[in-house]
Amino acid sequence: MSEHTGYPPELRKAIKIVEETRPERLKQTYRRLSLEEREKLLKQWHPDYKPGTKRPLKVGPCRGTIVYNEVADVLESWPLIEPRDVDLSNIDYDVDVLVIGGGGAGASAVLWAIYSGVEPDSILLVTKLRFGDANTVKAQGGIQAADRPEDSPVLHYLDTMGGGHFANKPELVKALVCDAPFIIKWLEDLGVIFDKTDEGVMIEYPGGGACRKRLHCARDYTGLEIMRVLKDEVLNYGVPILEFTPAIELLTDPETGGVSGAILWNIETREYYVVRAKVTILATGGFGRLHIAGFPTTNHYGATMDGVVLAYRVGANLRDLDTAQYHPTGVVWPEAIRGELITEKVRSLGAQLVNANGEQFVYQLEPRDVVASAIIAECANGRGIVTPTGAYGVWLDIPMIDEIHGAGTIKRTLPAMYRQFIRHGIDITVEPVLTYPTLHYQNGGVDIDQYTRVLNPQGKPIPNLLAAGEVTGGVHGRNRLMGNSLLDITVFGKRAGITASKIVKEASSKPKLSLKHIEKFMEELRKANIPKTRRAPIILPDYRGERVLLRSLSLKVI
């Protein structure tokens, strides 16, 4: 071990055990679990099965459906505005396509709407942070596509269904696996730098729950590389963009019940804007910042499930929101970056999970929910490592990678991970890292069909409302596989853009604007006695210190 270590003495001592068992472990592979063994492990240890974390919804189209408490809290919330607060007769933006969300799904939707004939300046992209500050840039490990001769879309389909506990919507999974190679080619043509051999063959890695090496990556900055290229292309087309301007409510046409735009709110100036749109695409991402079941999260600052809240109020069906993905390997130490992601690519490259006795306890590339459960079980059974701050974790033996693939592999293929830890004095080329599950992904969400049309509980599309990416449910069932998220946002972003262009072409007249759906929803809230203090969408989490909040005064002068 190197001299400069960022580990305190007790953890340094614990690392010695990992180093002692490493030579022997390098020769061993832990056995894979059967479907039955997986189920047993999940039921006992996965947070999805923890009692007291969920409840049935009291209001809305999915009344009675069981969801996580934190999800119920925002769905059973009062709107931020009263209908009388806004003047809908004054339209600020009158567009063909409104895209809500500035991550990979939103950007893909914009580009494919343009390719399909929508004029760039008749699109409006709105986002609550900056364009591109999304979970997409944090996706490190890769993007799946079955494009090697040894692989096939059929195997990709099977892996995705099995990983999702067969709860996925088959038509969405088919779209996912069949569009995948087209997406890789599209990204390649746009100039995305994938890791390739000198002959142009993609270097592909195995991901958890996948039976073939299928992960395409760009070092461990895969999502960042994809996002910045998509963003650059959107900017090249001159598409109007409003940053720091989230949508706080959708608008509906009272005659058709279809979605006809949105109310936006400028976080900095606090003014609202009225948007009329022939079609609206929700690409708002997931729910990490709701800290489901009290977990820390890998998600970006704006991941507050706003899109699901808005869609629910116009009648969307929701699915699988009683599950959440806890990424097996969140950072435990150093404390300052606790909960941040350690990419699964680390395990794709061979790093094993090791307990306090220096033993493996699970095959490192089982599906994520299985690995997460195994880690939780190991710590609960007293074989975890305790940090000086009282946090639990197990070791992820990253230095193994250089022993397997040769010196220099870690620095070359995992620069983001190397950087994340060396900033805190931990050198992952020689030191293992402490890890524990962290809230990562919203498996479920708004129900869509393969054209990305948002469906109501009767399975009928809500006119002129589309959704793509993490905001939706059905693609990943009850557990997403690694590398299927970057694929989801590009495949269904693309499909949303294409569907939007068709709706625009078919639209004969401009839709009418109303907040009628809100009035109806508010009536339900009143009947259910939902406290008026509960408001959503929450837009951004509040992490201010309690001492400050206790002394906070809202004075109406500045």
């Binding site: 479907l35 892996d159 039976c211 300052a336 994340q420 906070s552």
Partner: protein, 238 residues
Amino acid sequence: MREPINPEQRGGESRSRMIKIYVMGRAYEVPEGLTIMKALEYAGFRLIRGVGCRGGFCGACPTVYRLPGEYKLNIGLACQTIVQDGMHLVILPFVPMEKPKYRIEKLKPDTGTILSMFPEVTRCVSCNTCTKACPQGLEVMDAVQAILRGDLKKAAELIFDCISCGICSMRCPAEIRHVHLFQLIRRLYGKYILPKAKHVEERIREIERGKYEEELNRLMKMPLEELKKLYSQRKIEK
């Protein structure tokens, strides 16, 4: 890769000890061991600008700081850098620079193309200030020089880990717009210089011919128990 600029402290041991940081000159007491971002929130700031992914990828929170008794100007990401006693800091959430618009498919991957859009690159005086400013620890100046030599491969590799925070552009005496320049370089390299993946095109042709259609449709309709069996029996590649 150069080691990123960084304070060697880490969080954890004694959360109760309070230290003083100066946020745009105003002193606040915060617990030691926090990142700058979490310390600002502890102190009562509700962040809107200067925060994004919170994990070192989006480049929204580059922070300029000086430590007591030092003249040296340090740069770090607020979400990755630990507070130190007596630190003076400001987050610089935005660097103004216009992006030239282009159609990538109409460009040639050469220095002429690049200089026509970014003529200021020739003004580089090799002062290395950009490299010293980079919170990612990248060899920024070497990349700029590689561009001038027409070595786009070298340049793209050197600046691949760039998170587009723009601090180099803020410090550069030649006023180079690195963020947009580097994005163009990476795209030119990815599109024109990296060899294309032929096996991807082959698979696309197979899908277009409908090779997997029948099998997929069969799986979609298959009874659950049968599908589970098929899943359990699939061979896993070593």
